[in-house]
Symmetry: C2
Subunit: 423 residues, 2 copies
Amino acid sequence: MNWKNKTSMKEIIDIGKRAKKASYELAHLSTFEKDAILNGVAKKMLASVPDLLAENKKDLEQAAEMGLKGAIVDRLMLSKERIEGIAEGLVQIAGLEDPIGEVLEMKKRPNGLMIGKKRVPLGVVGVIYESRPNVTADVGGLCIKTGNVCVLRGGKEAFHSNLAIVSIFREVIEGLGHDPDMIQLVTNTTRESANALMKLNLYLDILIPRGGAGLIQAVVQNSTVPVIETGVGNCHVFVDSSADLDMAKSIVVNAKTHRPGVCNAAESLLIHKDVAEKAIPLIGKALLEARVELRGDEQVCSMLTEAKPATEEDWGTEYLDYIMSVKVVDSLEAAIAHIHTYGSSHSESIVTKDYDNAQYFLDRVDAAAVYVNASTRFTDGFEFGYGAEIGISTQKLHARGPMGLKELTTTKYVIYGNGQIRQ
Amino acid sequence: MNWKNKTSMKEIIDIGKRAKKASYELAHLSTFEKDAILNGVAKKMLASVPDLLAENKKDLEQAAEMGLKGAIVDRLMLSKERIEGIAEGLVQIAGLEDPIGEVLEMKKRPNGLMIGKKRVPLGVVGVIYESRPNVTADVGGLCIKTGNVCVLRGGKEAFHSNLAIVSIFREVIEGLGHDPDMIQLVTNTTRESANALMKLNLYLDILIPRGGAGLIQAVVQNSTVPVIETGVGNCHVFVDSSADLDMAKSIVVNAKTHRPGVCNAAESLLIHKDVAEKAIPLIGKALLEARVELRGDEQVCSMLTEAKPATEEDWGTEYLDYIMSVKVVDSLEAAIAHIHTYGSSHSESIVTKDYDNAQYFLDRVDAAAVYVNASTRFTDGFEFGYGAEIGISTQKLHARGPMGLKELTTTKYVIYGNGQIRQ
């Protein structure tokens, strides 16, 4: 195996060909065989902690040389605990039900044909991502479990860590007598390699970008391979006129501050005008105490001197930080219209005691996840009970919301006949 | 309403905006209201036969001026019977079960959250198609039923017919008090308008090309809107060593000649070497009698003097005509490898009496529809019992095989809480 950096479409095509070839084997491994790989990788990772940390150190040193700091270095860093967490994640995936082979429906047609719809792997899954090495193992695990070959194109910042993790997968797969090309890392981390992957329709069945808005838009704009758009979340909490304001406060603070850097964190607070006078000081002060910067409309700024005036741009911004825009709206309809104008169709929540308004909000708001009286922070594969996720889809095709194992499958029709011809 | 041809992205953006706006109303019409539109359009079409024929005549005259002949003129032509057929199709769609609003699953999480997955419309569906006016009504009907606004960009050959049909839809919709922009025709039929639609991510949720391989590839290559790839079918029938050869003959002749111009017609015949001596003359002669030109490998040509030698290109060709490539293969595995090398993952059939080989073929062949002992011609929405289809997907994302009403929907998570915040 040549892990040297090379720049060429030819290299990517070669990876694609080998992935396609391996996909025919992986698609037909039994659940036992796939789980053996996952458990084997988990075990080997635990046995390789010093090696993994050594490789990760190379990335961290490189990051220091490049002057990288803060969150990006934190995302890049492995530790014994994090490696144990990754291994534990693989064991958990092994414990999930295998979705492959399930026959979703089967019916007998008047002409006697038996037509069944069977769940099968997608085939080859490409993932382009940034600097988190845990993505490498998570994606690898989810893909093995669902019978999909994966082609991973991680960021150059995490090159050594990614290579070490993928090498463990490959060694375990090969050791169990299978084709190691079931998982491949694109070692060329240039923009050219990402662009080449986006045109690899012949070998890739799906391409998933995981990372910031810039990466995702680049893939959506340039890929001819079908893409699942993930991640951008400009999420709102709407405090209706009938809301329990203490509940509203608790939900808003949680949605904003529990983990501000992720896509299901709330970015914008909408308050019904009838409760604005009570709600703005109550919730606003709780947010300020939690060190959240507020950017408000006129009424908010007049009631909270700490709030800065919001610009038009604020309403459409995913801060991913301790900042929240706050607006008073005239009605439930106005709140929904605002969400449709500025939102990203990720997660939206209403706090209300009114039955009709709750149902109306659930019905009318066009988003992957719509909540009544709960924090937007629950939009997540684990919280939804899927055990793991490869991303949160904000598009409507194929998958919407947290993508678990089933979302990494497709179906095929299997038809049993006894000589039927079309009349 | 301005139906004049104008060329600009601005015009397309305007169509998109109005479509998005109308989508919020259409998504929430009741089944009764949607069916009233469909039945109303059917009734008005029957009452408008002379007008529709007059508009269609303009297209036919234009086609004659352009020197168009044969199949394309036939596809373009309306008649009283065809219009009745279209109206009947709309009534049938009205009679189908409304998929919208169904809650696919609902579960209670340990923290008390009730998480449901609800079927909702996609939103705005764009369709780029060629010269068949019936597509206009079919797509319009399927989209109304599923709560989707449609933006139709038909070919210039059918401009007057398409405009007449869409106008009937719009008048009926408006007459029932709804926003007529629930269905819109892009009256600009230049390549620019098609290209503009392919970049309309802000307003289109999905783009479906319906037509020849050239159109489909142009859309797949250029669209940044998520695409459903439809239609190309290089379908095979494999005659296994244990096949009932009379059944094989009947299936092959049906798959090839029942309607050679459609995507589920078979294009290639594979014969196991152990039965080649019997099968080649038996099936070959039946095909020749049905006026099918045969393009065979060496053994086929040596046994049937009428057969021409097949080139490498033949194995990958969707003839859509009375032509079939014929090859002798050494084994079931060789047949599957050939199908994976040259096929388009549409519909593939094995004729066999062997249980294990039947299951192996069903399991291993990667295609939208895999058959045992039946003609490939059954891959069709009506034949599968879905009542209607918007196309046959040959991709793996979102929908695979015939796309009926359910394939024009997406889901959203609806979450009922009582104050839950994430710990």
